[in-house]
């Protein structure tokens, strides 16, 4: 607590003890209400602590920023599909792991100083339910999952089976990595098409049933340096 003059000593004043005590007690009373005002100036600032000295964060609240596989032909003209709305249709499904950002692929984590890396990826996914039911069979026989994994420098950080229905997901992993820029990849893979799946690639190949939707992807990466 900030304190100002309580009792100023003046030339010609009686040297009574309260002259000293009044002022001293006022300043001592600040002990009872500690707050950051009482810390010395510049107790911690960037001259003492350089940027990214012990930690560095990387994040994107909307990743990727473009759509992938999104069919807009039959969307309402008034609606602009939200960025990052991935529609994974058989024609575009490579059948293997693919980067959810089809253009740039990797995220560069620059200035990693070596140490622990924590990476988290969250979003929403929907596996198109009819594909769980195989053709001509009443009960689900071939459930589909949207597999998710995070690669760092092409080595696996974390992999999960992923959602089967319309779900929110969050996967995260951590590992130790050497100093230097790192490449982070967020990848997905739909369970492979079975021989009895009710899939049709239409003549002309322009309109297809989406197998899965993936949207509202975010990632947050924290580097904690040694």
């Amino acid at each position: 607590m900030k304190k100002w003059t309580q009792r100023e000593l003046r030339a010609g004043g009686v040297v009574d003890p309260s002259a000293v005590n009044d002022e001293l007690r006022a300043q001592q009373s600040s002990m009872t209400t500690l707050d950051r005002e009482q810390l010395s100036a510049d107790w911690v600032n960037e001259t003492h602590l350089a940027d990214y000295a012990i930690i560095r964060g990387y994040f994107d609240a909307r990743y990727p920023s473009t759509n992938y596989g999104e069919q807009t032909i039959q969307s309402d003209a008034a609606v602009t599909p939200s960025n990052g709305f991935l529609s994974i249709i058989p024609r575009l499904d490579p059948g293997s792991w693919f980067d959810i950002n089809e253009t740039s692929g990797a995220i560069t984590l620059s200035g990693f100083k070596g140490g622990n890396l924590f990476a988290e990826w969250s979003g929403n996914a929907l596996v198109f339910p009819p594909f769980a039911a195989t053709q001509k069979i009443e009960f689900p026989q071939n459930p589909k999952y949207l597999g998710l994994r995070i690669l760092v420098n092409n080595s696996l950080l974390v992999e999960r089976r992923g959602p089967a229905y319309h779900e929110h997901f969050r996967i995260f992993g951590a590992g130790n990595f050497p100093a230097g820029d790192l490449e982070l990849r967020l990848q997905a893979k739909v369970t492979s098409v079975g021989p009895d799946d009710p899939l049709v690639i239409l003549p002309g190949g322009t309109q297809q049933v989406p197998q899965a939707h993936l949207y509202s992807n975010k990632y947050c990466v924290l580097g904690r340096f040694r």
């Binding site: 900030k2 309580q6 100023e8 004043g13 039959q74 198109f128 319309h166 049709v200 239409l202």
Partner: protein, 738 residues
């Protein structure tokens, strides 16, 4: 010669009405109550808020040159955390709202929250601040109310605390309008029966976000719980239409829900022979303005002609999106699983976008309508300070005039109006009621209103300072007490048009109510009236003293009770050195601010204020009888070498007689050692104050009325006095013949 003695053991405060109570004073100026003795102490002054020796940091810290700081016309210290650990000092000058951010602990801590704000005219009150759990609501009657919550602030770089994130600490208060409508994606129905018995070849399916949901619970777990519209169409045609509408509202960090957006709809028809699938609709939902923390989504039932509720667009709660980031919401909630209906009385946008006053009462935030809507009182839902129902307002009677202040106190909300004082009682659930307290006392000085323990709500009315005491509930007695019954001369000199410029604060530490008023035609406060709470209730002793020379433009109390103020001229005084910038503190510093010495280019501390005590006019019982006053004895605490020169008057004449000068030392013992002349431990020791009489011989001849006075700029503690006089019974002659 035997003399009569008139003893005043405790010298009173100022009283202007004649004849005066003898223990009171004609002038009691620049004095403070000395708690140790109950007397008057002259130990006061003011100093810079930051006692740096050589700079004005952070108030435009350049020592010389043109400055732009002041006058400061509003000041508020917000308490945001218990124990005073998070105090935010907000003040306004030059149309800017500043934040003194002290928790950072670095020099550059003055942050500008907003610029271009309205600068009050001389007859307008400055901004009004109300602390809420969510921040400080700032209103000024012209600009849109803002909510300031400056915690925490980030760091941009070394020594640049908060400048990059300061804009996130202030936002417009309340909702400006309805959110943009929700954009439902188009849905193309899935044409397939369940179970799927053939390859699905519909060219119509597969629109971007068409999402289907099994209606058969056997298909997938919980499958039947989700989806919109009809699940089956046993006919061969597109005959079953689904028509749904959506709306959304924003929820802010105060927990308040805003108005609903306009209804937006989408429709689809189920293809013939379709079975087994309902649909989920992707919605593009709008993101809200700063302060939004969630979006609330509402939906209708299917209101197509094919369903049971054609045309019924009643909205029901679906879900909260607990962020302000996501742009897609997929609605797959069955009609049977819809939540509660949206409020029947719609929440509107902020009804008082130019409010002047606000206060919290019974959990509701009350706002006046502003200058152009000055008799309407709006109130929010309890605990939701930005949520104003369209019907939540009180229209006050036209007789009382416009609202001049709001003050929540005890079990009532006091509404000060131009011609009356009303009180609001009740609560939100049972309804609020308005009662008129008085039609004869009016307060036009909103910043003079303070709650004072033991007194009630104290305020400056047109004809004096009053206290609203007691309450209106539970048998409590409510009363309006005039506190300046015998100080009318002081009140009359307040510039009438500039009453709104008066500012006040109450310091629990000093136990003083400080009221600073524009005086003698001034357009800003230049005179202080101080109510000393410790002197109330001591018979006829006046509890008032005055302050002169304190340049107070706005005043507030910090957590520890210290009184801080903003300068009333700032750079307007034309001094290029700008010694009047920023905030100051009334303290024990024996100085009245600072001057600038061009030669040494340094700050010079000004001298202390002049304290004056002039006694009442004494008639010693009968003014017609002539008296000869021979001695005045002042009871003082020894303070060392300070000198006291007594002067005295008689019969209301302004001709003054000065007596000899004495030191504040014991008259009959050795002088107490004093600073700068003594070396302790070389024979001299600390000495305590002593209560001693200083006896002045007075030569005044005969008088009907007698008064003495002393002025000092030095340390003095004055407790009481005695007058010794004789009378021979001589009476005043008859009046002069015309």
């Amino acid at each position: 010669m035997k003399q009569d003695v008139y003893e005043v053991p405790r010298a009173g405060g100022v009283e202007t009405r004649l004849p005066q109570q003898p223990e009171n004073a004609s002038r009691a100026e620049n004095l403070r109550h000395d708690k140790k003795t109950g007397g008057w102490s002259t130990r006061l002054g003011y100093e810079k808020y930051y006692p740096n020796v050589t700079t004005w940091s952070p108030f435009n810290s350049t020592i010389t040159g043109a400055i732009d700081m002041g006058p400061v016309y509003s000041l508020h210290v917000a308490q945001m955390l218990g124990g005073g650990a998070r105090q935010h000092t907000l003040f306004e000058a030059d149309g800017a709202l500043y934040l003194l951010y002290e928790a950072a602990g670095v020099p550059t801590i003055l942050q500008t929250l907003a610029t271009g704000r309205h600068v009050p005219t001389p007859t307008e009150a400055a901004s009004w601040f109300t602390d809420t759990p969510y921040g400080v609501v700032v209103t000024n009657g012209v600009d849109r109310p803002v909510l300031v919550n400056p915690w925490p602030l980030g760091q941009q770089g070394a020594g640049q605390y908060a400048s990059s994130t300061i804009s996130s600490c202030i936002r417009d208060f309340g909702f400006t309008s309805s959110p943009p409508p929700v954009d439902p994606h188009r849905n193309v129905a899935f044409q397939a029966a369940s179970p799927i018995t053939a390859d699905y070849t519909s060219a119509a399916a597969g629109a971007s976000t068409t999402i289907t949901c099994f209606s058969d619970t056997r298909a997938i777990a919980d499958g039947g719980r989700w989806g919109l519209g009809f699940a089956t169409n046993s006919g061969a045609d597109f005959a079953k239409e689904a028509l749904f509408g959506w709306s959304c509202s924003f929820i802010t960090d105060t927990g308040s829900e805003g108005p609903l957006s306009a209804l937006s709809t989408t429709t689809w028809e189920l293809p013939g022979n379709a079975a087994g699938f309902r649909h989920a609709i992707a919605l593009d939902i709008p993101t809200g303005p700063p302060g939004t923390v969630a979006r609330r989504i509402y939906r209708t039932t299917n209101f197509s002609d094919d369903y049971t509720a054609p045309g019924d667009t009643t909205l029901y709660f679906i879900d909260d999106v607990r962020n302000n980031v996501e742009e897609v919401f997929i609605d797959c909630v069955r009609t049977a699983a819809l939540g509660a209906a949206a409020p029947t009385v719609p929440t509107g946008p902020l009804p008082a976008p130019a409010a002047r006053f606000s206060t919290l009462f019974k959990g509701c935030l009350f706002l006046d309508g502003g200058i152009s809507d000055q008799r309407t009182l709006y109130y929010s839902a309890p605990g939701l300070i930005e949520q104003f129902d369209a019907a939540a307002f009180i229209e006050l009677s036209s007789q009382g005039g416009g609202i001049t202040a709001l003050y929540g106190n005890y079990t009532n909300l006091v509404i000060f109006r131009e011609e009356s004082i009303d009180v609001v009682s009740g609560d939100y659930a049972a309804g609020f009621q308005v009662t008129t307290l008085t039609n004869s006392i009016t307060c036009r000085a909103p910043h003079s209103i303070k709650a004072i323990p033991g007194l009630g709500v104290v305020f400056l009315a047109l004809d004096g300072v009053y206290a609203i005491t007691g309450g209106l509930e539970g048998g409590a007695i409510n009363d309006l007490v005039k506190l300046t019954l015998t100080q009318d001369e002081l009140v009359e000199r307040i510039t009438l048009d500039c009453h709104p410029k008066s500012v006040a604060c109450y310091s629990a530490e000093a136990r003083e109510y400080h009221l600073y008023v524009p005086y003698d035609g001034n357009d800003r406060p230049n005179k202080g009236l101080v109510l000393h709470i410790d002197r109330i209730g001591q018979g006829d002793l006046s509890p008032w003293s005055t302050r002169d020379g304190f340049p107070i433009g706005a005043v507030a109390t910090r957590y520890d009770g210290s009184i801080i103020f903003g300068h009333n001229t700032g750079c307007q005084d034309g001094a290029g050195d700008g010694v009047n910038r920023g905030l100051f503190v009334i303290s024990g510093k024996r100085a009245m601010g600072y001057s600038y010495d061009a030669g040494s280019q340094s700050l010079v501390v000004n001298g202390p204020p002049t304290s004056v005590y002039r006694s009442a006019w004494f008639d010693f019982g009968d003014a017609q009888v002539k008296k000869q006053v021979s001695y005045v004895t002042l009871w003082v605490m020894t303070t060392g070498e300070p000198t006291i020169t007594l002067r005295h008057y008689k019969d209301f004449s302004l001709r003054v007689t000065a007596e000899r000068t004495y030191k504040a030392q014991p008259p009959d013992q050795a002088d107490l050692p004093v600073f700068d002349t003594v070396t302790l431990n070389a024979g001299a020791i600390y000495e305590d104050h002593r209560l001693v009489p200083l006896r002045f011989s007075v030569a005044q001849q005969s008088c009907s009325w007698f008064s003495f006075e002393f002025t000092t700029t030095d340390d003095l503690i004055f407790i009481g006095y005695e007058l010794e006089y004789t009378t021979k019974g001589t009476r005043v002659v008859m009046g002069k013949r015309a």
